[in-house]
Amino acid sequence: MSENWNITLKVSRQKEGEKPHFDEFKIEVDPDEYVLDAVERVWAFMDRTVCFRHACHHSTCGACGMRVNNVEKLTCITYIRDVTHDGGVLKLEPLRNFPIISDLAVDMGSLYNRLETVGVRAILPAPEAEIENPPATWDSADQQYIRLADCIECGLCISACPSAATSSEYLGPAVLAGVQANGIKGNPEMLNIVDAEDGVWRCHSAFECTAVCPSYVDPARRIMNLRTQVIKERFTRLFHKA
């Protein structure tokens, strides 16, 4: 295996009522470990007061998202080797655009509420889940299978989105991507929700969401596609309303 590195973990700390600051932890790591492993070791052996969220450790739960050296990452699948070097610094900050519970843990309630309100499906038929970027194994015989959606609701896209930074009412990439996957044909209620100031039109094409998504969702492309769906729906309704 590879030689160990000595790095400094710079962890953003913020307890209730206090000002945020950074704590530094010098730690020895195997560069082929994940960033989350390093955070866990800091918690286990150096400072039990560090608050962070993690559950599955294999990119299905979406709990461990953080900003690693200023870029949104899912820390359970981010190799230390890819984000720093021997003797380097690993700066860890909580996701942006969500209220901070403590240290690296944020409250993603707004995201979950919106996903629930617009009815984004958590499980769906396999062909629908994989219709874009189908994996090599996809086959029409897979029609009957049901699988968990690609979107793990990790919030990285919302943290990276500059529009979400200026507007907390913006539905956000994850939610709009979920509506796109459901489709809005013949659904006037959903049409009105997304064809709104804080729906698809709040997106200003920064494409940061797709850049940070760890889960093949490609929210930017889905938002653009949703705009096409919105325009089609409006057109259709214009001519059918008479």
Partner: protein
Amino acid sequence: MSKPQAIIVGAGFTGAATAHDLALRGFDVTVIERGDICNGTSGRTHGLLHCGGRYAVKDQESAIECIDENILLRKIVPQVIEPNGGLFIALNESDLQYRDVFIQGCEACHIPLEELTPEQALRLEPNINPKLLTAFLIPDGTFDPLRLALSFAATAKKNGAKFRIFTEATSLILDGKGGVIGVNILDRASNKPYELRADIVVNATGAWAGEIAEMAGASVPVKPTPGVMVAYDQRFVQRAINRLNTPGDGDIVLPQRRMVVVGTTSFEIDDLDYVPVLEDHVKLMLERGAELIPGIRNARVRGKYMATRPLISSGSGRSAARTFKCYDHKETHNIDGLVTITGGKATTLRAMAEGTADMVCKKLGLNAPCTTKDVLLLSYRQYYSLPN
């Protein structure tokens, strides 16, 4: 008439499911968890919704629990389950010799199974080892670990339960007569200590059950037994693939979103709070996983991690029973007000909660039957929208 107060320590599968059960029975439940939901063992399960076939030969009590709960979970919480079934496949003579006892075991445990020819199996799953000798189709499934717990937690919250995360139990409050009457707590988010009183404290900390029990001077025979999991970045199969043989290392591969997860190994440790990933275990998963699905050799590792099972030590390692046990510490150590639930598997979380809640009600002299078999769970997302 005020509600009986319960504090549940630990918000993994057992804690969340027990909160749900007790809330339905009219308890005022507070769950405390030093991290966030499922940050211990529960979050890291590979997510196999067992049909029980794995235990049908050597541990039939577990097997029957599994198949019964498998069917129940598909009914009450389908929104977190990939219900696509599973295969047990035989690759060599040793596997084939297991065939007969496997069939007998499954039938004894009312686990429905159907034997397939290799051609039939390959038509269903083209990426499994083409040299398989026989296969059995069984009703396995895959679930999302965090979301399974959140579904129970959401429903519990709807019925009045409160979940306090980043809230650590620093010690138990004793009444001086050998009874537990509450928990001393440190809220990590604000760094403030406070007290919570209760009629009953449920120790649902799984692998850490011994540590919490010790706070009252009790003990439980739980042996923390970690194992490795490795996730690869391609969804090679739509079903869980199991090796047809006695349970061993690396004999389960299952799909989850766009990955497959291979597990697991089994060894003993002392320090629970951090278990390093052992590279030779990871290599073993690659070897054993590739036996079932050769394509794994060309896939990239997406994640690798250790998960610590709470085994109840009656035997060791793989021979320890996988069933669960509730301990009333009044009976074990003459300490009132505390029960411990540990052991078990993710698939049986609802049954574990039922057993625990039954014990709690019996202790407090309450006649409140379990209703969790019939209650459909709320969407996991509602955990975040329902107020505490």
